[in-house]
């Protein structure tokens, strides 16, 4: 891609974000207004609009991150944040977006406050958990855990009993625009940027991402946050 293309993608994605965010906020206000008696069957429409806006903003966010990466501007902003709270927020959002998601969360230990780039950590959590949901059967259990070791390292894991990754594809999943053959059979649409960006984000932040997977058995993705950063 040329510098011009990258700039165009970035500009448009930024521009698109504004109407999406203000629409989401307006809907959030309507959905949380207890004095508004919206009938449940109509409330579903509002929720669907909210979910779809989230989908557009996720795509837009990926394009922005990708364009930043392309011009070497994928730079983390480290500020203190509680990683366990970020995880809870992401799980709550995804549970809202996927009515049949069955996410179990296990948080072990205390002291999850670390200097992190909040958007980037949220991107990692959101992408990996999202993948587990869409590559599994509806209501199939997705187990998410966050464990702090005695050494101060934090390990994030997400495991599913989904379709798994074909053995021949396992070396390619962090490649840009890569889509596995078995993923196209599913509703799980994508452009092949999530895992690529997760890896790049982990690289710039100093995290270690790894996975284990077996076709038709399931996948487990891990992200290790070292004790220093």
């Amino acid at each position: 891609m040329s510098h011009f293309d990258i700039k165009l993608i970035s500009k448009i994605s930024h521009e698109v974000m504004s109407p999406i965010i203000s629409s989401k906020w307006a809907l959030e206000i309507l959905l949380n207004d207890k004095n508004l008696n919206i009938e449940e069957d109509k409330r579903i429409f509002l929720k669907n609009i909210y979910i779809n806006l989230n989908r557009i903003s996720t795509i837009s966010n990926k394009l922005i991150n990708y364009s930043r990466y392309s011009v070497n501007e994928l730079l983390p902003i480290f500020l203190d944040a509680d990683i366990s709270n970020l995880l809870k927020k992401i799980v709550k959002g995804l549970s809202n977006d996927f009515a049949d998601a069955n996410i179990k969360v296990l948080i072990e230990g205390t002291g999850f406050i670390k200097p992190v780039d909040q958007s980037m950590v949220e991107f990692i959590f959101s992408s990996l958990i999202h993948n587990s949901i869409v590559y599994s059967k509806p209501s199939s259990e997705v187990l998410v855990s966050l464990v702090k070791s005695d050494k101060g390292e934090i390990m994030f894991e997400v495991s599913d009993k989904g379709i798994g990754i074909l053995a021949e594809d396992q070396s390619k999943i962090f490649t840009e625009f890569f889509r596995s053959k078995n993923s196209d059979d599913l509703y799980a649409k994508g452009i092949g940027l999530s895992l690529f960006l997760c890896k790049k984000i982990c690289d710039v932040c100093g995290y270690k991402i790894s996975f284990e997977s077996e076709e038709a058995v399931g996948s487990k993705f891990k992200v290790l946050f070292p004790s220093k950063k």
Binding site: S22, W25, I77, E122
Partner: protein, 128 residues
């Protein structure tokens, strides 16, 4: 003017997108604040001269005078330099966040990953 009116905390919003400013305006007024809206930095500075606000909510990308220039002008003016400025932007780019904080903003909210509820909480915290 009643005493109650005088005691209300005053918030100035600098935001060129009407959809955002109407949401802020409506919610914050409901929360008991007095609110005025400027659609660019120049207008904001004019409004600040009429009444010094307790808090400025500043968007970064605006016509005429953008958020950075505006923030700099506020901090350089002896009458305004103690006014709290909360920066709001669609997205967080390291360079932008660093510049805003260096120029004296009390906080930086990235709108794309914050709910309106959290934005309002942050405003309340900043004013308490």
């Amino acid at each position: 003017m009643t005493d109650n009116h005088v005691n209300k905390k005053y918030i100035l919003i600098a935001e060129d997108d009407n959809f955002y400013s109407s949401i802020y305006n409506q919610r914050l007024t409901e929360m008991g604040y007095e609110v005025s809206v400027a659609s660019n930095g120049e207008q904001l500075l004019k409004l600040m001269k009429i009444r010094v606000p307790d808090l400025v909510m500043l968007d970064l990308i605006m016509p005429k005078m953008d958020g950075f220039e505006t923030l700099q002008s506020i901090k350089e003016d002896a009458n305004f330099k103690n006014v709290k400025v909360l920066v709001l932007s669609n997205l967080g780019q390291k360079e932008d966040v660093d510049s805003a904080m260096m120029l004296g903003a009390i906080g930086y909210i990235i709108k794309s990953n914050t709910s309106i509820q959290d934005v309002l909480m942050k405003v309340k915290e900043s004013l308490s």
